[in-house]
Amino acid sequence: MQGHLSLLLVVIPLIAAPVAAILPRGRLSWALALVVAAICAILAGVQLWAVVHDGVISYELGGWAPPWGIEYRIDAVNAIVAMIVAGIAAITLPYALLSAEKEIPEHQLPLFYSAFLLCFAGLLGITQTGDIFNLFVFLEISSLSSYALISLGQKRQALTSAYQYLIMGTLGATFFLIGVGLIYSQTGTLNMMDLALRLPEVSGLKTVHTGFAFIMIGFALKLALFPLHLWLPNAYTYAPTVITVFLAATATKVALYVILRVLFTVFPHDFVSATPTGDLFLLSGMTGVISASIYAIYQVDVKRLLAYSSVAQIGYMALGIGFASSLGVTATIIHLFNHALMKGALFMAVGTIIYRIGSCHMDNIQGLGRQMPWTFGAIVIGGLSLIGVPGTAGFISKWYLVLAALEQQAWIVVAVILIGSLLAVVYIGKVIEVLYFRPAKETHLAVKEAPMLLLAPTWVLVIANIYFGLNTELTVGIAQRAAQVLGVTSG
């Protein structure tokens, strides 16, 4: 029964997507998407509970036994990622109603929600599947629909940024497929657990090394790991607000999950530690944190600023992977969860300003903080969480990351984390200064607080930021368990 549950998590949005496309009105498609996302969030919650209490869930698609058939295999690692994806979708969709109606023409709305559901199904599929080729198929489902979604942005630059993402994303997916093909040629299997059994025998071969490199680079592109992040700021800036919220909180997290899975489950540990992978992740993480944070400071568009901040946050997650220690991976998974909360809250709050005045350029939003107190409050708390102030979720992730760095006596990394947080103070401070301490433009004096339907989902995420900053039992507990499942030895 639990197996069916894991399967329904993917199949329900997949079936709903074509239905949403043929519904006559945008609102009907929205209602369908909302119901589907809510059901999936509940299913993902039950699945997480079941995995924590009863252990691994395995499901044979079509009744064909693995490794020949496709297997869905859920343990603590993918259960938590699926929970993030489904939960964020369920919170984003109530927000989508007004925001999408404002930004997308009515006749495109059914197709918009259809593409949203496809992207959702693809992301869930990536997390659920235990078959590395099936993973590629879901990757393509989610990527293709997200290119379409990004191109629906209001400005014409949305088209070029979607095209840019299409080129980079396709490169990433192709690299991944080449890597999978090379590994398949040496092992004859595509099932991840079966690969883990067979790879040690052939791990000395050049082909396997090449395949490993292709897979890593491919997903580093999808993850927007510095310096392969160039598609991300444009895509996030020009996409419709709802899509920015959804992709920022889920797509990169899923890519990170795949990297964790490939590094720690599929490939043998001594194989990975013999390659410079860990050092590369540390290097790109450190440069990413510093340089993307500095880029963020100089942005004049708040969405773009937050997009660069996302690149920096991905850097933090890369640091945890680079340590390859139990504590490091725990920190990465905690940050993966917490970053979804804070970036979701921040992009939603910025989205309410865009809903009111149609822009989030620094010159246009000045002084609006006093007229939109609830939105401003959400930006402040989300920003504090991003900086990592105690009492917010961001603090927990930074704390574990610093602990992981101290454990390895990596003083430079500790310094980088602290400098990164200080830089975050600068760019978040800049947004707050513009929003609160500058006089409002005369044309914007009549701007009122955003409607309830936009504020409520934003504040759900804001409160989650505080809740998970105070009660760490759930996040840390599951992250530690996930690190255990991945079999990372401490030290």
Binding site: H4, L7, I15, P18, A21, I22, G62, G63
Partner: protein, 139 residues
């Protein structure tokens, strides 16, 4: 192109053959080479040929774009629906064996239905893409 008599006569006689061949590829796919993807593309080639010779408007009259959108969605629904039916019959998702009296009959029926869905979606998506590009610049 509409005045070109030879093209019109030849394509009129070719189009039915193309459609019959598409149906053959579709429904013989489980015994020989073929299946939904190939059949869908061949079938859409028949309509595209018609559009090239008789004009886009005539082709859109044969298959309006609203119907194409429904067909494309329906194909996916048939595929996914077969999976749901197998769930209700007590099997795993897309486990065709439970569909028929015997395992072999079930597998046969399942693959036939699923390929039908694939064929419908490929056919209509090919045409949607063709109409979208060919219709650029029209008022």
């Amino acid at each position: 192109m509409t005045n070109n008599l030879i093209l019109r006569v030849v394509s009129k006689s070719l189009i039915p053959l193309i459609i019959v061949f598409a149906l053959y590829v579709q429904f013989h796919g489980d015994y020989g080479p073929g299946g939904g993807f190939q059949a869908g593309v061949i079938m859409s080639a028949a309509i595209i040929l018609y559009a090239l010779v008789f004009g886009l408007d005539a082709a859109e009259q044969v298959i309006p774009s609203t119907i194409l959108r429904i067909l494309a969605s329906l194909g996916v629904l048939i595929y996914a629906g077969v999976g749901v039916v197998t769930l209700f019959l007590g099997g795993n998702y897309l486990d065709y064996s439970v569909l028929g009296e015997t395992r072999v009959a079930g597998q046969h029926l399942g693959i036939l239905l699923v390929e039908l869905g694939v064929g419908m979606t490929v056919f209509s998506v090919m045409l949607i893409i063709f109409f979208a590009f060919a219709g650029r610049g029209r008022p």
